[in-house]
């Protein structure tokens, strides 16, 4: 068998015993026998016995011989030719083809952009929702109790509401919760909100906290019921658990993309994380608003009550110049009112069409 001279590949040989570098040449004959020659040794093995590293860009190629030696060369095209000739390593060539041809760049780019967008906007929330409802409904009472204790210590003072109003509102609250199938430990408690002002929020255990200030701002019980239903909506839809799940997956995802770029990556990751999470948060608010809207309509309460209360809260906020945090997970009041109004119009016009 003759050695084909045009196939001489130049590189370096390392025997694997010492770090000595030797200039080497490599040739392959028609039978697929690889001949490696350095100044003082020659190695001959069939190509099928060699381990040849995959091509990655124009990084050097490594051919490992059964005796532990390694041939390193920059002549990637020549190695590819050998592989093609011997019919080995076709799978690895496929990846390199994708990575090196300009015509694949645009399609891969489009796939990446569209699928990441779809995953963030639809995938993560859908997965988190499925996971949240697959998990037991009972969340730790402990977290909720802790949270309320901390708030009691730092923000709230005891409610000054008269017991008659409390009883009346708790009865309305129970009306909402008794129809729910999930067994949460539903409870309505009152506090003076102080710096958080007129406000209400739900804890994952099913406890809803309402401030005296909110009760004062409300002109009738129906307005309060609309807010209570909104808060129960958060509990029923397991928003707290879903927020945790979505936040974790998102953090993992962003870390994977920007990970080990360089130390400023945290800086780069912060902004998109904030934007996406506030987007998720707005989705939750919409869902809770929807729950409230459904409840109001089912119980023949005019949804306008919710809007009225929101508008009044908004005006009060403006007069007092603050109270709501700009970067909070809740959208601005005006935005929420508008969102609700749109939902209400849609729902009402939808009904009247029938």
């Amino acid at each position: 068998m003759s050695v084909i001279p045009r196939n001489i590949i130049r590189g370096l040989f390392f025997d694997g015993v010492t770090s000595k570098s030797s200039d080497a040449t490599l040739t392959i004959d028609d039978a697929g026998l690889v001949h490696l020659r350095t100044n003082d040794q020659s190695v001959n093995d069939h190509i099928s016995q060699l381990h040849i590293s995959p091509r990655i860009g124009n990084t050097p190629r490594y051919l490992y011989f059964p005796n532990g030696g390694k041939f390193e060369t920059r002549e990637n095209d020549a190695i590819d030719k050998i592989l093609a000739m011997s019919g080995t390593g076709k799978g690895a060539g496929f990846i390199h083809n994708l990575e090196s041809k300009l015509r694949y760049v645009l399609p891969t780019l489009i796939i990446v952009i569209v699928s990441s967008w779809a995953f963030v906007v639809y995938g993560i929330p859908t997965l988190a929702k499925a996971a949240a409802f697959a998990l037991p409904a009972a969340t730790s009472e402990y977290i909720s109790r802790e949270a309320l204790e901390i708030m009691d210590e730092r923000v709230f003072s005891p409610s000054e509401l008269d017991s008659k109003s409390k009883k009346r509102l708790i009865a309305r609250f129970n009306d909402i919760t008794k129809t729910q199938s999930d067994k949460y430990n539903y409870q309505l408690v009152f506090r003076v909100g102080n710096k958080i002002g007129a406000n209400a929020f739900a804890l994952p255990s099913g406890t809803v906290v309402m401030t005296d200030e909110l009760v004062e701002v409300a002109r009738n019980d129906q307005e309060i019921v609309s807010v209570l239903a909104h808060e129960v909506g958060h509990v029923v839809n397991r928003h707290s658990l879903r927020r945790t799940l979505q936040g974790s997956v998102l953090a993992l995802l962003i870390a994977t993309f920007t990970g080990d770029t360089f130390s400023a990556s945290t800086l780069i990751a912060t902004l998109p994380t904030l934007l996406i999470e506030s987007g998720y948060s707005r989705d939750f608010e919409r869902e809770a608003d929807q729950f409230s809207l459904d409840y109001l309509l089912d119980n023949k309460i005019d949804p306008e009550n919710f809007g009225n209360l929101m508008v009044r809260l908004d005006e009060q906020d403006k007069e007092e110049g603050g109270g709501r945090n700009f970067f909070s997970t809740h959208p601005a009041t005006s935005e929420r009112v508008q969102m609700f109004k749109q939902g209400r119009t849609r729902k009402f016009s939808g009904k009247s069409d029938k």
Binding site: F14, V105, S115, T261
Partner: protein, 356 residues
């Protein structure tokens, strides 16, 4: 760059031969296939990434090679993923009991660190000789759990010492073939770096305080951020925004200073037998790289990441030299073995960044 000779040793430059666009194509295919295969390809992507950067790092005519098997990495990744999910659920449903989990984690962490370092070292080779890491569990426990814990009670005064001890542990237990690495710096240089950062920080705080005190009342605001937003007071908002931006840029500068000086300390005091290293990263260069990379990544919604990584690798390699006391041909191989990828991947999921 300045001295080819140092104490009779020849300075051999490191060189990074990668190219931004070439790497972009590899990176985007990696990301794309990882998405299409629901993350499974990410193990292969990681290997190809490493192979690209190692293979393009050249010293004295030959390259570094990354030899890890993607299947091993995939297995480790799956285990780490499930541990992460379990941790997430436990910490949610049983917050009190999750303290036990954290304790367990603290006990396991040193083992994970040792595994991760061993894995990376064993699967890195240069001139067909592999690196190795032989650090003990006790050493990792001391340097990565106990000492950092102790800094909490010393107002952080111990922190530079901890960094020095960690470097000593990592470098001192690494070997190339049968030759051991060494690290000769004490805690002194690290303390200098931290002192400098504190001084810069104090200076910045004073400067910012003065700036806000002068400009915000001047703009007619005389109030805080909330009021400014409520009143839609754009002149105040602009100034506050500018101050925030300035702070971010300064944070980047301090980061650049820290990375540049610590990297220099580590390499300039590292040795292997009679050989050594020199690294002369400059804070200003690093800062400009960070700043332009950050801006470009933000402006391109992340697509600039591959170029950013290549630019950084090229700069770092360009400032690093190997001080060869004799020929590079004299290193001898150690017997090789395999380790599971589990440690390394658990380390990655929990975002433990170790290494030089």
């Amino acid at each position: 760059m300045e001295q080819p000779q140092e104490q009779g040793r020849t300075a051999l430059p490191f060189e990074f031969t990668g190219n931004g666009f070439e790497y972009f194509k590899i990176w985007i295919v990696n990301v794309c296939l990882s998405i299409v295969t629901l993350g499974i390809y990410s193990a292969w992507a990681k290997v190809r990434n490493h192979q690209y950067f190692y293979g393009n790092t050249i010293l004295s005519g030959s390259s570094f090679a990354y030899l890890a098997n993607p299947i091993a990495i995939l297995k480790g990744r799956l285990i780490a993923f499930f541990v992460f999910i379990i941790y997430l659920l436990i910490s949610r449903y049983y917050p009190v009991e999750s303290i036990i989990f954290s304790l367990l984690f603290a006990i396991l962490l040193p083992w994970v660190i040792v595994r991760a370092l061993t894995f990376r070292a064993r699967y890195t080779s240069y001139r067909n000789i592999r690196f190795n890491f032989k650090g003990s569990y006790g050493g990792a426990l001391m340097n990565f759990i106990l000492l950092p814990f102790a800094t909490l009670f010393t107002l952080g005064l111990l922190y530079p010492y901890v960094i020095q001890q960690q470097t000593l542990y990592i470098l001192g237990n690494h070997s190339y073939g049968a030759s051991q690495f060494s690290f000769s710096a004490g805690a002194g240089p690290f303390y200098k770096v931290f002192l400098m950062i504190i001084l810069i920080g104090i200076g910045l705080a004073i400067f910012m305080g003065i700036l806000s005190a002068i400009f915000i009342p001047l703009a007619g605001g005389g109030s805080d951020l909330k009021t400014a937003i409520e009143n839609e007071d754009y002149s105040v908002l602009t100034i506050i925004g500018a101050i925030y931006l300035f702070t971010l840029v300064f944070y980047l500068y301090i980061g650049a200073y820290y990375i540049a000086s610590v990297t220099n300390i580590i390499f300039n005091n590292a040795g292997i037998e009679e050989h050594g290293f020199t690294s002369n990263l400059a804070t200003n260069d690093m800062f400009m790289l960070y700043l332009t990379n950050t801006l470009a990544i933000l402006a391109t919604v992340g697509l600039f990441i591959p170029w950013a990584k290549v630019r950084m690798a090229r700069y770092r390699a360009g400032r690093l030299k190997f001080l060869a006391a004799e020929s590079l041909d004299k290193f001898i191989a150690d017997e090789s073995g395999k380790v599971s990828a589990m440690g390394e991947e658990i380390g990655e999921v929990f975002d433990i960044d170790i290494g030089l």
